[in-house]
């Protein structure tokens, strides 16, 4: 795909984030979509492409009253929206549609109009993982951590510092769910969830949503908000079974998606002003920093513990507070994208001064999938 041919011209989250007991999941989609459409100064009838995950595109298109000529129902977990951005950019470039709406929403906390997750007993996960007591992401996602720590000499304190630093960022974001400062000791003394991870190393469970609107770069300059261009993209999948990853020392999906996006963008790591790495759990930023090639894995824990990713640090990371402190409705990728767009527009609550390039890296499932989008505000 060519650089900077497609731009984000509308971006918004749901009116409320956190606990939203008065809205079903599908209405959260609509709330985010209507906010994004207003942000772009468009009408519903201007939308001719739609992408969403978990809920089907037909569900969202019909509920909103949209007649699309392009749809994408890619549903690979929390990074689905990164993949939607990539697919939408390709579709717009190919002339399949002009204006794409991507929606995410989840009634993750209130569970209104949300189908519970179910693992069929004759699926591979149902046969070869479920019988051994996995029960929700906290029992699965951290399974690789102890191996990763042993291989690279990463300490419990270093991984705890991920949550501490992100809470510092969250404190600067009025819409963040958790804003009170915490220490490494607080993290290591919080309730045990699945050793080695404790409560403050696990993502929040909240309600909310977000939506993006993309169009071609030549049209983008006529929109009310500053366009945010798509500079590079990557995607991949590995396995739905965490036990079957090629290795616990890295994520194959990360190692494919991330470098693809850097190559397409034609940038090096030194060019990155702002970074989002989907943090469903505290180890993910370490995997991300290593797999995306920012530094050797051995240095990732120390890099964060030393404060390099905190406010004022040289690599601002997860500046909304992340899934650990900002919000996490189940599929956090959309919120990472929203923060990248805010940073590129120059309107983020914790704005990184003069940021020109933002890398937004997502995970789906338990390292099952990955998508990376690199944004810029300079054409």
């Amino acid at each position: 795909m060519r650089r900077n041919q497609v731009a984000v011209v509308g971006a918004a989250e749901t009116t409320k984030l956190g606990v939203i007991p008065d809205m079903s999941q599908i209405q959260l989609h609509a709330d985010a979509a209507l906010n994004a459409i207003a942000d772009a100064g468009l009408k519903l009838s201007d939308i001719d492409g739609i992408a969403t995950a978990v809920e089907t595109p037909q569900q969202i298109a019909h509920y909103l009253g949209i007649t699309p000529t392009w749809v994408d129902g890619t549903s690979v977990g929390g990074c689905s929206f990164m993949l939607h951005v990539r697919h939408a950019a390709a579709a717009i470039e190919a002339g399949l549609c002009k204006t794409v709406l991507i929606t995410h929403a989840e009634s993750g906390k209130s569970m209104i109009g949300k189908q519970p997750r179910f693992t069929p007993p004759d699926s591979l996960n149902g046969q070869f993982e479920a019988p051994f007591g996995v029960y929700g992401p906290p029992s699965m996602f951290p399974i690789p951590v102890l191996r990763f720590m042993k291989t690279y000499g990463i300490t419990h304190e270093q991984i705890a510092s991920v949550a501490v630093v992100q809470r510092e960022w969250a404190a600067k974001n009025p819409r963040a769910t958790m804003k009170d400062p915490i220490t490494v000791e607080d993290v290591l003394n919080s309730r045990m969830i699945a050793y080695p991870f404790r409560l403050l190393q696990c993502c929040l469970v909240t309600d909310g949503g977000g939506a993006l609107i993309l169009t071609s770069a030549d049209r983008a300059k006529d929109f009310p908000k500053k366009p945010v261009y798509i500079l590079g993209t990557g995607e991949s999948v590995e396995t739905p079974m965490v036990s079957q990853m090629e290795t616990f020392n890295s994520s194959r999906a990360f190692k494919v998606a991330g470098p693809l996006a850097f190559k397409e963008a034609g940038i090096t790591h030194k060019d990155v002003d702002h970074l989002m790495i989907y943090d469903a759990f505290a180890h993910l930023p370490l995997f991300g920093l290593g797999d995306l090639g920012f530094m050797p894995y051995e240095e990732t824990g120390k890099f964060i513990a030393d404060g390099n990713t905190r406010p004022g640090g040289k690599l601002p990371l997860n500046t909304n507070g992340g899934g650990l402190s900002y919000m996490h409705s189940g599929m956090y990728g959309m919120y990472a994208l929203q923060e990248s767009v805010r940073q590129m527009r120059g309107i983020a609550p914790a704005q990184v001064k003069d940021a020109k390039i933002s890398v937004c890296h997502g995970v789906g499932g338990m390292f099952a999938a990955s998508g990376t989008i690199i944004f810029t505000n300079e054409k």
């Binding site: 004759d122 019988p131 051994f132 007591g133 996995v134 951590v145 699945a194 036990s243 079957q244």
Partner: protein, 137 residues
């Protein structure tokens, strides 16, 4: 009210030999006749070279502890927390999820790379699960 039960696997035509094996006291893996690749979970072709000529064989049942969590909450139905969910690396190469039995469920007792051996635990008349315990000797 019936007590909550551990999730029970339901074999498919491609995995039946594995579950027949555990009932017979064998941990069965598959090897590609064309390229010798040993793989898991079961499927009737080689995921490395796509050959459909594959053989089922009995694993040594020996391996080592690759990684784990000790789950505290929420506990899966049929489990009493804390309990370890482990990934075992078999001597033949493939890894599989399992539980570690005959061993305290603590970080001190569960050392990465400790040697393990399979121990079959009967769930009911149709399903026997492959568990692992610290290797003897």
């Amino acid at each position: 009210m019936a007590e909550a039960q551990r999730a029970r696997p339901k074999p498919t035509p491609e995995t039946q030999h594995f579950w027949d094996g555990t009932q017979a006291g064998e941990l069965r893996l598959q090897r590609c006749d064309a390229c010798d690749h040993v793989y898991f979970p079961p499927r009737p072709f080689c995921p490395k070279c796509a050959s459909r000529k594959v053989s089922i064989f009995k694993s040594s049942g020996k391996g080592k502890l690759y990684s784990y969590v000790i789950n505290h909450r929420p506990a899966a139905p049929g489990f009493t927390p804390p309990y370890a969910i482990a990934v075992v690396e078999l001597d033949e190469g493939p890894r599989m999820m399992s539980n570690i039995v005959d061993c305290p469920q603590t970080p001190e007792a569960l050392e990465l790379d400790m040697k393990l051996e399979v121990k079959f635990e009967k769930l009911d008349d149709k399903i026997t699960l492959p568990m692992f315990r610290p290797a003897k000797g």
